[in-house]
């Protein structure tokens, strides 16, 4: 049976992890490769690296990161953050990443999704959407949740899917950082409109939050950052709790 995936997300800037990491026994908590290997050994099913480097050397630093991660890691990983062209994606995928995630750049230039899908296949193209509630629906936010595009998030997901996105990473801007649970209303509204795998993101704070999403089949995978980084929840413990509730997971 296909396992529900648990995906830690690492924010990276200039080749270093951004958020503090509270892991016992790490030689260098700022080294994304060492952290990635640690997560893989703990039973992470995939990893997402979100690169927020803002310098002109960005493509080189993110490609170097993908190279180093790819050599060390024997599970799949996605790289996102500033992928704006086929050339950007080719650089990262050629370095060993399995998928690229696109967000603001695809909203600005939707044809990017089709270009990437044609060049690398849909399986390599993750649409990352930051959605914020506006009362009767959700709008697409860009630039790290700072810019409200006014676009309907569910319509955008449908359009991007038709253009060739092979997976959707759906982050609730409202839930992100609260650790009070995934945005089940958003996921429930999005799920019927998503034909490709859906990753829930934003709000994870306890094992029950993952169980809630998976038991109701609101997502195929769930992503979290701080919860794992700060050692609040270890992946083996999370998977044991999910397995005890008959949710299919890959044993650690």
């Amino acid at each position: 049976m296909l396992a529900r995936r648990i995906i830690p997300c690492l924010d990276v800037c200039d080749g270093r992890t951004v958020k503090g990491v509270n892991f016992v026994g790490l030689r260098d908590a700022g080294d994304p490769v060492e952290l990635a290997v640690r997560y893989a050994a703990e039973g992470a099913d995939e990893l997402v690296f979100l690169d927020i480097t803002a310098t002109v050397e960005k493509r080189q630093t993110v490609t170097d990161l993908a190279l180093r991660v790819g050599r060390a890691l024997d599970i799949p990983f996605t790289v996102g953050g500033g992928i704006g062209s086929v050339e950007d994606a080719a650089s990262v995928l050629g370095a060993g990443a399995d998928k690229v995630a696109v967000n603001s750049s695809a909203v600005a230039r939707p044809v990017l999704i089709r270009e990437l899908a044609e060049a690398f296949g849909s399986q390599a193209v993750v649409l990352s959407v930051d959605a914020k509630s506006n009362g009767d629906g959700w709008t697409v936010m860009t630039h790290g949740g700072r810019t409200d595009t006014g676009r309907d998030a569910l319509d955008w997901i449908a359009e991007a899917q038709d253009a060739g996105a092979g997976e959707v990473l759906l982050t609730s801007v409202d839930a992100d950082g609260t650790q009070t649970g995934f945005d089940t209303a958003l996921l429930a509204a999005a799920r019927p409109r998503v034909r490709v795998p859906l990753i829930a993101s934003g709000g994870a704070g306890a094992p029950g939050h993952f169980a809630e999403v998976f038991a109701a089949n609101l997502a195929d995978a769930a992503l979290a950052a701080s919860l794992f980084h700060y050692g609040t929840l270890a992946i083996p413990d999370l998977k044991a709790i999910l397995a005890a509730q008959s949710i299919p997971v890959r044993p650690c």
């Binding site: 049976m1 296909l2 396992a3 995936r5 893989a40 099913d45 790819g70 050599r71 024997d74 599970i75 799949p76 995928l93 050629g94 370095a95 060993g96 399995d98 690398f120 296949g121 849909s122 399986q123 390599a124 092979g166 997976e167 998503v194 034909r195 490709v196 795998p197 859906l198 195929d220 995978a221 890959r250 044993p251």
Partner: protein, 195 residues
């Protein structure tokens, strides 16, 4: 020496990385003499069937693959290309195995089949050990190969049971990605390397 066939497949680097982790010497090549001199050959594969077959044909590799008796490992699309035909863009493939690779039926579950799914061992093979029955491997695909006498392990998704590992004569192939399947994948690659 292991030869990794150079025909533009998307996971070439990842397979090379996995071989590096196992300490195996390998070369990336589409040169027929170099391929013939290798101890074993890997046909990686991420991408579309039609463009992959076109790339193999351009390099004169279609006839070579059909004729070679060297140990050959196909990965993902590299498994699908071994069959006669793929529904993906209605593509004629290598025809080393009988049957058609078909798209997952619409079963109300997401396609592509993406993630860790369980293997069912259906026939003995040197490439798999018994502990792998029920083990998880990493799959990413939209099309799947039928179950036949060459099937050594199956997987089930979207109301379809399909070949996850096949073996015939000099050929072994996996629908999943051993290079991304943690310990299970490393074991299968190691078994191929020591064949």
């Amino acid at each position: 020496m292991t030869a990794l066939i150079d025909y533009g497949a998307g996971n070439t680097r990842s397979v090379g990385n996995a071989l590096d982790r196992l300490g195996a010497a390998w070369m990336l090549t589409a040169d027929l003499d170099e391929l013939a001199s290798a101890d074993r050959v890997i046909l990686p594969g991420v991408g579309a069937a039609a463009s992959a077959m076109a790339a193999l044909r351009e390099r004169g590799l279609v006839d070579w693959l059909r004729a070679t008796r060297q140990p050959l490992l196909g990965v993902c699309l590299g498994l699908q290309l071994l069959y006669e035909h793929s529904e993906e863009s209605n593509t004629a493939c290598l025809g080393l195995l009988p049957g058609t690779v078909r798209r997952f039926p619409d079963a109300g579950v997401p396609v592509p089949h993406m993630g860790w799914n369980t293997l069912r061992l259906t026939a003995p093979t040197a490439f798999l050990d018994e502990t792998m029955d029920g083990a998880h491997a990493y799959f990413v695909h939209t099309y799947a190969a039928p179950v036949g006498p060459e099937t050594r392990a199956t997987c089930h998704y979207a109301d379809l049971t399909f070949s996850a590992v096949i073996e015939r004569d000099n050929i072994v192939a996996t629908q999943f990605h051993p290079e991304k399947s943690a310990g299970v994948g490393a074991t299968i690659l190691q078994n191929f390397l020591t064949r």
